[in-house]
């Protein structure tokens, strides 16, 4: 279960990187490709750090599950991965529309297709 969830989290960050025209790296950071992918994804996009702790918590729960299955930790890791998915999905939808945090629109910008 923990391998599946970690792979799902990595896939989310891979998608984010590909959408930005980058090739997801294979490097590891602190033993996790997930953390390296996050670092790569935040390069040039500081607001992406808003999901840094979520990634770190995913790694932490992955480690917690090393000792064997634990329904509570599995549920929590699943919720963390889901949060990462939702955050990145929302961010991708509005990427480039503002720089306040991850999602706000500049109020007076002309529509691109006007």
């Amino acid at each position: 279960m923990r391998e599946e969830l970690l792979a799902r989290a990595e896939a989310v960050l891979e998608e984010w990187l590909r959408a930005r025209g980058e090739t997801p790296g294979a490097e590891m950071s602190e033993g996790f490709r997930l953390l390296a992918l996050h670092r790569q994804g935040a390069r040039g996009s500081p607001s992406f750090n808003a999901c840094r702790e979520t990634c770190r918590e995913i790694a932490y729960h992955y480690n917690l599950l090393a000792g064997g299955a634990n329904p509570r930790h599995e549920l929590m890791m699943g919720l963390l991965v889901q949060h990462l998915e939702l955050f990145v999905r929302g961010k991708m939808e509005v990427e480039g529309l503002g720089d306040f945090c991850c999602a706000s629109r500049p109020l007076r910008r002309e529509p691109e297709n006007a």
Partner: protein
């Protein structure tokens, strides 16, 4: 005497509106603890997200004006902002003025036109309500003053994203023992533990609440909030303690919306940390504005013999 004994108080717009209960409970807790608040005269919006998007330097000016009034017209050295957005923006303005000559030029120019002294970096220290109570009173003294222990109440402490991000505008954090942590903030945990609460291990304590998506993409906001609520419940929490008005109202509103639109009901309640501290100090739920919350915590407080 602590340098936080008497501070300039910058409530900001939210605490006059949707977060009135946060304003009420902050003042009530300050009074109960003997900490004084002196509201910044004629304060203005911090620039929040709207102005920041249109012109970030004007946002820097707006935040600097609040600090200028506190320093130059009221002779304060500390400004306390309980709202994460205001706190973040004042800290950001301080950083911009210290590092960006173009922002400095804009602030000087508009301040002159507006007829007040331009804010100079370092004139005031901006703090959050958590710093104010943590450093103004401390856990030991708080523990001594507790009349109505929160014992038996399981709390998930939720800090939101703006209290610690971006890290470069908070140079005082991550400075070793006693300082706040960027990655794992704990000041609210410390204060509520001193008040007797049982803090649960809550891994989404700084995760995005979807606040900025609320208008452009409400469904994403609802799903992000639902995830936070479900994680808090899975962690065993009775209540989510908040310290940001945007997060708090987002959690409350989207809890209702999640049930209505997605059919997903959650039971966990939301209370400002100042409301919980007030109750622990013996104040009534009404005195700290629990009746003003959308999330009705009265039944829970009664069940825990706290009301």
């Amino acid at each position: 005497m602590s340098k936080y004994q008497k501070v300039a108080y910058y409530p900001g717009c939210a605490l006059e509106g949707t977060a009135h209960a946060y304003d009420r409970s902050t003042k009530a807790v300050g009074k109960a603890l003997g900490l004084e608040l002196d509201e910044v005269r004629n304060w203005n919006c911090c620039g929040a997200m709207e102005v920041k998007n249109v012109d970030p330097k004007v946002q820097t000016y707006l935040s600097s004006r609040v600090m200028s009034i506190a320093a130059n017209e009221m002779a304060h050295k500390v400004v306390m902002a309980p709202c994460n957005g205001c706190y973040h923006n004042l800290k950001k303005a301080e950083h911009e003025l210290a590092h960006d000559p173009a922002s400095r030029e804009v602030v000087d120019r508009i301040s002159k036109k507006a007829g007040h002294a331009p804010y100079q970096t370092g004139q005031v220290e901006t703090i959050h309500a958590l710093d104010w109570i943590k450093d103004g009173i401390g856990e030991g003294e708080l523990r001594r003053r507790v009349k109505n222990s929160l014992k038996g109440l399981k709390v998930a402490n939720y800090y939101g994203c703006m209290y610690t991000r971006p890290r470069h505008i908070f140079p005082e954090k991550d400075q070793g023992p006693g300082s706040e942590s960027i990655a794992q903030p704990h000041f609210m945990d410390d204060l509520l533990a001193a008040a007797g609460a049982e803090n649960v291990d809550f891994p989404l304590k700084t995760a995005c609440c979807g606040g900025a998506h609320t208008l452009s993409d409400s469904d994403t906001s609802t799903k992000l909030v639902l995830n936070i609520l479900r994680a808090a419940e899975a962690a065993g929490a009775d209540v989510i303690a908040t310290e940001c008005p945007t997060c708090h109202s987002g959690l409350e509103m989207h809890q209702v919306r999640a049930e209505k639109v997605l059919g997903q009901k959650t039971k966990v309640k939301m209370l400002y940390f100042t409301q919980l501290l007030g109750i622990a100090l013996g104040l009534s739920p009404r005195k700290v504005g629990v009746h003003e919350n959308v999330s009705d915590g009265v039944a829970l407080l009664k069940e825990k013999a706290l009301a």
